[in-house]
Each structure stands twice: as C-alpha cells, then as structure tokens.
C-alpha cells in the first residue's frame, strides 16, 4: 500500500539546515513571552538571535564542497513529515541557494541592528515579524520538497504584509494590500501546478512532493506550458518582471527601511531563485517556448525601470525602480541560460541584495534625520555628512557596476554570457529568430548599464553636491557609530565580491553545470531555426548537449517564418 512506503522512517542527514530554519522562529516564540514594554530586551535579543543564525550559517560555506553538483550531501536532511501525503521535511543546499541563504543570514542581523531607531512602535511585533520572515526565507531556499517549499513561500507573505502595513508610510494600507494580492494570485496558481505534479508522480510509484521525483517526470508539451505558466507567474510576479512590477514601487516606498531592505535584499531574489531552481529544470521545453517573451520583457524592464527611475523625485522610489532594472539583468542571465550568464545571474542576485539593501539603509538613515525623501529637499548635504556621502557614493558605484565593485562582476558575466548564447547569428535570421532576437535584446540591455549610471549619478549630484538650498540640511548629524558599524560589512562585501568574484562563482559552478544539462531541451524549442533544421533531419535525439559554447555554425538556418 502507498502509505506504508511513505512512513518508512528514513531520517537522515545533518541538523544544521533545520537549526538554521528553526532558530529564528524559536527566538520569535521566546520573544512573545517577554512583556511588550521591554523594548530594549526585544531589540537586543532579536539582534542576538539573528547574529547567532549568521554564525551558524558560516559552516554552510566552510563545509561546502564546490565540486559536488546538486545538493550538498553533508547537510542534506530528510525526515518524515506528512506521511499521508508522502510529503517529507527535506532540506538541502547547493550552489544555487548557498549564497542567497548566506545573504539572508547576513542581512537580517544588520537590519535588526540598523533599524533600532526607525521602529519606535510595537517593537516586539516588529522583531517577531523579522525573525519569522527569516525562517520563511531560509526555509524556502533550503526546501527540496515542493509542499515544504510552498509552505515557506506562503509563510513569507504574512510578516511582510505586517511589516509594510504596520510600520509603513502614509499610504501603507494600499501598498500592503496590493503587495499581498499580487503575491497570492501568483502563488495559489502555483499550488495547482504543484498538486498536478504531485499526482503525476503517483503514476510511477507512491505519489510524492519530492523535487527529485518531479524532475524525473515526463511531461507533455501542453502540460509543461500550463505548468510553467502557473509556476512562472508566481516567480515572475515576485521578481518582478516588467508588466507585473507595479506592486514593487508602492511596496518599497511605503515599507519601513527594514521592509525595503529585506524586500530588495532577499524577497525579490526568491522569484529568480524559484525560476532557476524549479521552473527551468522542471519544464525546460516550456522555458524554451517562453524564452523570447521573457527575454523581451526583461529587457523592457531594464530600460523602462531605468527611465522611470530617472524621472523620480523620491529617492526611495528611484531606488525601487532601479531594482526593476537590475532584476531585469538577472532575468536576462537566466533566460540566456549559459553557464556564464547563470553564474552571473546568481552573483548578481547577491550583488543586488547587498548594494540595493545598502542603498535603502542609507536612504533610511538620512530619512530619519530629515523626514523627507524628496530629492529637491536635499542638495549639498555632502558638506554636513561627509562619511555618509562617501558610503553612499561607494554603494552607488556598486549599483551602477563600476569595475572593482561587485556590480561590475555580475553584470559583466550576465552580458558576456548572454552574448555567448546569442552569437553567432546565422545569416538570414529574422528578428523573431532566437539568435537575432537575443543579440538585439542584449545590445539594448547594455544601454541599460549606461542609463543606470545616468540616473544614479544625477541623483547623487542633486542630493549631495551643489549649494545647500535647504537651511535645515546644514546641520545634519553625520552617521553614528552604530550606523557605521551596520554599513561597514556591506561596504566590505561590495569590494570583496568586486575584487574576487571567482571565489564566489566557484561555489556555484558545479551546480550550474548540472543545471546546464537541460539546456539542449530548451534550445530545441527556443532556437526556432535549429528546430526546423532538426525536424528536417528527423533526428531529434542526436542533438549533442552543449554547454554554452558558441558552436552554432552559420549558414544553415532557413527563414524565420513558420512552415
């Protein structure tokens, strides 16, 4: 009988991941028992727990075997959970998730320490929400069981809802409802997809939510299309890809600093992570079919985000739209799907988390002093806040991708990887043909880098330099020691990643190589000209797997038109 198989107590693996996932939520429960008046205790304990989680997460890296593709066997955990469903509590970490997980444990304590002043009311609830959020994010990153993943995925929603709704700005209720509705729409449809896959696994043995089982499913093209749509919608809303992005500026603007940092730093990465981890390997052919659309939308996002950011008069909104633009680059890296571009995309996820997180933190720090976010209210504050200005400019440079900073490494890998994928364009290829489309789009994406420099530098000029127009800004206090301490690790990380990017990408290489095994299946659908060629030869199976190398020989492609 099915149930008996599922109930076999095959508990295995290390407790480390489970400890990382549960420590924050246990801390949150502990905090619930401390009277709400003792705000100092809540703050201190919350920060301590978050720091502990960070320290505990360091073994993830030190024990990481970069040569192992897939989940690290040393930290794999698999214990029984809901036997009736065949859902198991199974966690794992691999090259795709390890850096984002570390980013999570790295940023959360910084927020809890940094946001001490910004959050005055209901401190206990705030700290609890942050810790629960950390549990949910780590859980979603580590889960290798689809039901468990979905559970943590939805669990992220509630603390964020409260973070924006309780501690947000004036228009917070609108922003928070919009955020939730967008997210729920995506994730519930994903649930149907998960159930579908679950029932599919039942055709070959006991039904199971295990990701590995779902990977081995044989899905028809139609099925893949719909399932990809269901999964993709959830992830692309979270990213957010261009037409689904409208919740982001509202959420960012209204969220408190802590909310903005966590949103930009980690939550958005969940979308791109989910795409890489689940949607692409599960439905490669559908990914191929959707690739042109996603590519075009990503590039629209890059350019549109940059242009709209340029037009913003609100610093926070500007940074929010820059996120849309930056995430467009990550999406470009994923959709190009070469070894280099995907490694770049993963690195860029971390980069964006660090630099945009730092930007939001800095914006929050100056907001606490001036209580305005309008660019026109500033001007010349470099004179009164020299240290702040220096840090802000460093982060800006990272954000626009100056060589030597982390942003450069990520964007370079993505763009060069995307060109590798696109080139060479066979003669006679039309614009709807993949190589041509990819080339054109990547060229347009490169202009996004330039646009990024324009809007960021112009904002820096207007905020920091020139004469002090607003007399209140003449006597602003520079950063306190605590604020400097919060910023120091982020600034350090910007340079460390920027100067030694390979020590970061080397952890991801093996896992990405494993991911690349589905590339031929994507190509078959995506590269239309090649598809026609293959069809003509009637030898679909002989297609040799290629890993991102530009072997495509020119001159074989017929016209782009469908037969």
């Amino acid at each position: 009988m099915d149930l008996s198989q599922a109930t076999e107590p095959a508990a295995s693996g290390s407790i480390l991941l489970a400890a990382l996932v549960f420590l924050p939520v246990l801390g949150a429960i502990l905090l619930a028992f401390i009277p709400r008046e003792q705000t100092a205790a809540h703050r201190g304990l919350g920060a301590t727990i978050a720091v502990l989680v960070f320290l505990l997460s360091i073994p993830l890296l030190t024990g990481f075997d970069a040569s192992v593709p897939g989940f690290q066997p040393g930290t794999r955990l698999d214990v029984s959970w809901i036997d009736a469903f065949g859902a198991r509590f199974s966690l794992g970490v691999d090259g795709i998730s390890v850096w984002i997980a570390l980013l999570t444990t790295f940023i959360t304590p910084l927020i809890l320490i940094g946001a001490q002043k910004a959050v005055e009311k209901r401190v206990r609830e705030f700290v609890i929400a942050m810790l629960v959020l950390e549990t949910a994010m780590l859980g979603a990153l580590f889960a290798t069981d689809m039901l468990l993943f979905y559970l943590f995925w939805e669990m992220m929603l509630i603390p964020m809802y409260l973070l924006i709704g309780i501690w947000g700005g004036e228009n917070r209720l609108y922003a928070t409802v919009k955020f939730v509705i967008y997210t729920v729409v995506g994730s519930l449809l994903m649930l149907v997809g998960i159930i579908w896959l679950y029932l599919k696994t039942g055709e070959t043995g006991a039904p199971s939510f295990a990701f590995e089982r779902m990977l081995s499913l044989d899905l028809s093209a139609t099925e893949q299309g719909w399932l990809f749509a269901a999964f993709g919608l959830a992830f692309l809303i979270k990213v957010p890809l261009f037409p689904f992005h409208t919740w982001l500026p509202d959420a960012h603007t209204e969220a408190p600093t802590a909310g903005s940092v966590i949103l930009a730093g980690i939550l958005l990465k969940m979308g791109t992570y989910g795409l890489l981890r689940f949607a692409v390997p599960l439905f490669p052919e559908a990914m191929g079919a959707f690739s042109p659309a996603i590519l075009v939308l990503s590039v629209i996002g890059i350019v549109y985000g940059a242009l709209v950011a340029f037009a913003q008069g609100d610093v926070k909104k500007l940074v929010a739209y820059s996120s849309v633009s930056h995430l467009g680059f990550v999406m470009l890296g994923i959709v190009a799907f070469t070894q280099q571009s995907v490694e770049g995309a993963i690195l860029q996820m971390v980069n964006h988390g660090v630099s945009t997180g730092a930007l939001f933190m800095l914006v929050g720090m100056v907001y606490e002093r001036t209580h305005t976010r309008k660019i026109t209210d500033y001007g010349g504050i470099a004179k009164s806040m020299p240290v702040f200005t220096l840090l802000f400019i460093i982060v800006t440079m990272s954000s626009i991708g100056l060589p030597g900073t982390n942003g450069f490494a990520g964007e370079f890998l993505i763009l060069s990887g995307a060109f590798l994928d696109a080139l060479f364009v066979p003669p006679g290829a039309g614009i709807t043909d993949w190589p041509m489309l990819a080339t054109v789009m990547t060229i347009i994406a490169v202009t996004g880098v330039v646009l990024g420099a324009i809007y960021m530098l112009s904002m820096v000029r207007r905020v920091f330099f020139g004469p002090i127009t607003n007399p209140e800004n003449a006597h602003l206090k520079d950063l306190t020691t605590r604020e400097r301490l919060v910023m120091a690790p982020m600034i350090a990380l910007i340079f460390i990643i920027g100067l030694f990017p390979t020590s970061f990408t080397s952890q991801t290489t093996a896992s990405v190589e494993q991911l690349m095994t589905v590339r031929p299946r994507i190509e078959v659908v995506r590269d239309k000209s090649e598809r026609q060629k293959i069809r003509a030869e009637g030898a679909r199976t002989t297609l040799a797997p290629r890993v991102g190398a530009p072997e495509r020989v020119a001159g074989v492609a017929p016209g782009p038109e469908e037969e």
Binding site: M1, D2, L3, R36, W81, I82, D83, A84, F85, E125, L147, Y150, L151, F152, W153, E154, M155, L157, I158, Y161, L162, G165, I166, R172, L173, T176, V177, V180, I181, V184, V185, L188, L189, L191, V192, I195, W196, Y198, L199, G202, A206, P207
Partner: protein
C-alpha cells in the same frame, strides 16, 4: 465484524446517550435555578458532557465498525468510522461553541438555562444525523437539530434582529424540511425502501422507476443545499448568521454544516452512489458541481462588500460550502459500484470548524456589552487592545483563506488533489475556479487582519471587550488546534481517510446482516476488506 458484536447496544450508542442525558440535566437544573442567577456553569456541564461523549467516541473508534444487535436500531444507525469521525468533529465544535456562550450570553442580557439544553439537543440531532442509516432517522435527527437551532437563533428575545433571524430561519427551514420529506416520499415510492443500502439495491435493478427517483433526488438535493447554505439556496444565511447571538452562529457555522454535509454525503453516496447515477440517470454530481461553483462565487463576491464581521463570515461560509462540495465530486468508486470518500471532506470540515469557532469566538469578544453590529470599528486596532485575540482572529482568517501552516491549507490541498485525482482531471476546471475564488477571498480575509492590526479607530471609540476566560480559552484552543493540525496533519488525515473509506463498508454491512438473503453474503464480504482505503491521500 463478528468481534464487534461483543459490545452491547447501550455502549455503542453511549455518545448519543451521554449528550441526551446532559441536555435533560441542563433542562431540569435550569428550571430549578433562580431566574437572575448566573447560568454559565451549565455551559461547563454541557461541555463536560460533550467531552465525555468525545471520549466514548474515541473508545468506539478503535472497535468500529460496530453492529447494533437490536434490529430496529441496527437499521437506523450505522456506527462506523464515518459516523464516529464526523461525530467527533461535531462534538469538538459543540464543546467549543458551548464554552463561548458562558460569559457571552450574560453580556447580551440573554442568560437563560435552556440555552445549554438546546445546544445539547441540537448536537444530539447532529450526531444522529451523521450516523443515520435510513431516511426517517435522518429526518428526525435533522428536525431535532433544526428546531433546536431555530429556537437558539432567536434566543436574544429582546432583540428584533435576533427574532427576525429566528423567524427567517424557521420559515425557510421548514420549507426545506418539507422538500426533504417530499424527496423521501418519492424515493420511497420509486424504491419501496427507506434504508440507504436498500435504496441503492432497488435502484440498481432494472424495474426501478427512475423518473420518480429522479424527482426525489432533486428534492433531497434542494434540502441539502438549503441546510449547508449553498447558492442559490443561501439567502437566509447572512441575515440569520448576523442576527443570531454569536455563540449560536458559531454552532450553526460548525455543527450544522458538519452534520448536513456528513448526513447528506452518506445518503447520496450510499443510496445514490452508483457511478451510473452520479453522472448519468440521476446526475446529482453534475448538479453539485454547478451549485459548488455558484456558491463559491456568490459567497466570495458578496463577502467582499461586507463591513460586518459576522455577515462577512456568513458569506464566507457560503463560499466554503462550495469548496467542501468539491470533495463530494471526488468520491472514488470501485468496480462493483462501492463508493467511498477520501479524507478531504472530513478533514476540511475539521479545519473549517476550528477556524470558524476561533473567528466567531473573537466576534463574540468584540461584540461586548450588547453590541450587535460587529463592524470594522468594533475590532479596529484590536491588536493593541488585546494582542491575543487579534492573533486568534488572524490565525482563523489565514486558515479560512488557506495559507500554509494552518489546517485550512491542508484541507484545501487535500480536496484539490482528490478532485484532480478522482476525476482523472475531468474536474480540473472546477479546481481552477476554486483557486480563483481563493484569490478573491484573500481580499476580505486579509482585510480583517489589516483592520485588526493596522487601523487605529479604537482610539476614538474604544472596543468593549467581553472579558471571559472560557471564551478566550475556546477561541484560543481552536486557533491552536488549527495550527497544530496544519503543521502535523498526518494523524488527522489518516483518521479522515479511514472515516471516508468506511463508507464503502455500508454495502457489505447490509449484506452481512441480511442473513436471509444468503446470496450476497459471501460474494461481498471479501470485496470490502480490500476495496477502500487504497487511495493516495
């Protein structure tokens, strides 16, 4: 099955007996207590009775299926896992609902002892309903439940609101009862029997008069839709839910719904369960599918516009009726026409019961000191005044919405998976409709949390809270169990699966006792041992 006969009849019906006795005790004591004294302790007595009955149910669960040796009892009640499982859910709901009333009724100036007697009798009716094996027991049980609840709905005598609710419920409810009787009569006319199993046999024979049976089934369906508040038979629900005292609404939302779903599910699946009838000659399954979709949309769209918490929960109850009905579509059938249920229906009812008690519990708390209109102002900023109650309310809303970590999520997941699996994806569209409806429902469920946590009107009009330990305990326990069942659902799922699967035994049960008709005995007995419970969920 032979081993089970050692338990005496009295022991087998002990849950019913205990609840009945407690009701009578409450009634007698109420007569002899001074008019103005506090009657709340009777609530504890009745709750204790429910707990005792629950223990008896658990004891019987281990020995089920049980066979009553008295012949008339045997044909009237089937004490199988299905009946016992649903009885347990009803008793949990009844117990918690009784506790919510203890301090709430005095705050509404309606503290009368008969209340608890009526609650006990209503619960007795519900229990008998989910165990009933023939049409007449079913009808009597349903009437016992309904009439008690009619009275309870109008229990706040000085309130025109409450009286109107009772009147509305009574008039429409009587109409539904009449339809039910008509349905029973026609079914009897077509098949010559009132017993579920015999009806199934008679309908299987070629001489059965199908048109008459069809008419009967439609009547039965109408009564069913009315009792579970399915659109378009839902018009009474918002007014009655809103007007009735909140502790009564809690009982209506949980016990009445569980009993109606359990009783009618048994009736339809046992008597009309053959796949030929479900989608063919007596297409009740198709009708239920349509009504489920209508209920989901009617409930969710109307709930969007509600500012009153009780009224919103009424519309949400209509929507949930739609979700639960999906579980009836997924009933698996074996080759010989034996039908059973997966764990979805019973598990969902459990999750829904817990979440509803928690929600109505908080609604009682904030309607303190005779407030009737539980609108947004009543609980705006509740998180500041009373974080515990706000948390309970939030958990209830998240469970009703179906967010993971709550019982509501596992319930929805189970039902969706069952429907897709059981119908071989034929009903994929209805699952998509249900998901779309879940998305719609996010608006109003999350709005409750938003109002409770993020709005601050309370500063201008402070909330009057009913300060009550029992009420907080009941709601808190319900919320806690919602989370527990949501986190570690295995046991509850297994039990629900066992309960649903036991429906398949009813056919064999009939065959095994009809010793005169020796033909069936040997043919069917082995089939039942292996037929059910091979479900994936």
């Amino acid at each position: 099955m032979q081993a089970a006969t050692t338990t005496s009849d009295l022991a087998i019906i002990s849950p019913l007996f205990i609840v009945c006795a407690m009701g009578l005790v409450a009634l007698l004591v109420a007569v002899f207590t001074p008019k103005d004294s506090f009657k709340g302790w009777l609530g504890y007595v009745v709750a204790f009775g429910f707990a005792l009955a629950l223990v008896a149910v658990v004891w019987l669960w281990k020995q089920a299926p049980l066979t009553l040796s008295n012949e008339s009892l045997f044909f009237a009640l089937s004490v199988d896992h299905f009946g016992l499982g649903l009885t347990a859910v009803i008793l949990i709901g009844g117990l918690l609902a009784a506790l919510t009333a203890v301090d709430y009724l005095p705050s509404q100036r309606s503290d009368h002892g008969e209340y608890y007697a009526l609650v006990a009798f209503a619960v007795l009716g519900m229990m008998a309903m989910v165990m009933s094996a023939d049409m007449l027991t079913f009808f009597v049980a349903l009437e016992l439940m309904s009439i008690s609840v009619y009275v309870l709905a109008g229990f706040k005598r000085q309130s025109a609101f409450s009286t109107e609710a009772a009147m509305k419920y009574f008039v429409t409810g009587s109409f539904a009862s009449a339809l039910l009787l008509l349905g029973i009569a026609f079914t009897y006319g077509a098949t010559g029997s009132i017993r579920f199993t015999e009806i199934a046999e008679a309908l299987a024979s070629p001489q059965a008069s199908l048109p008459i049976a069809q008419f009967g089934v439609v009547m039965l369906l109408a009564a069913f839709f009315f009792k579970v508040a399915a659109a378009p038979f839902h018009m009474w629900t918002p007014d009655v839910y809103e007007g009735a005292p909140t502790s009564v609404t809690a009982l209506m939302a949980t016990g009445v719904k569980v009993a109606a779903f359990g009783g009618f599910a048994r009736m339809f699946l046992t008597a009309f369960g053959d796949a030929r009838f479900r989608t063919g000659d007596l297409p009740w399954e198709t009708i239920i599918a349509i009504v489920a979709v209508a209920s989901m949309f009617a409930g969710n769209l109307m709930a969007l516009a509600q500012k009153n918490l009780k009224r919103m929960l009424a519309y949400s109850a209509i929507a949930h009726t739609g979700y639960i009905m999906l579980a009836m579509l997924a009933a698996p059938t074996s080759g010989d026409g034996t039908v059973w249920l997966g764990p979805g229906l019973i598990f969902y009812l459990l999750g829904y019961t817990l979440a509803s008690i928690a929600a109505f519990g908080v609604a009682s708390v904030v309607s303190g000191n005779d407030v009737e209109d539980v609108n947004e102002v009543a609980y705006a900023g509740l998180a500041k005044r009373s974080p515990a109650h706000a948390l309970i309310l939030a958990v209830a809303m998240l469970s009703l919405l179906g967010i993971p970590l709550t019982a509501g999520f596992i319930g929805k997941l189970t039902i969706f998976a069952e429907v897709l699996d059981g119908s071989h994806n034929e009903y994929l569209w209805i699952v998509v409709v249900a998901v779309i409806n879940s998305i719609i429902s996010a608006f109003y469920y999350l709005r409750v949390i938003l109002v409770a946590y993020m709005r601050d009107e309370a500063a201008e009009r402070p909330i009057q809270l009913v300060s009550s330990r029992s009420l907080t305990l009941a709601a808190g326990l319900a919320a806690f169990l919602t989370l527990v069942v949501g986190l570690v659902p295995s046991r509850a799922l297994m039990a629900s699966g066992k309960a649903g699967g036991s429906l398949a035994d009813s056919k064999a049960r009939a065959a095994s006792t009809a010793t005169v008709n020796d033909v069936h005995t040997e043919a069917d007995a082995p089939a039942t041992a292996s037929a059910p419970k091979a479900t994936k969920l």
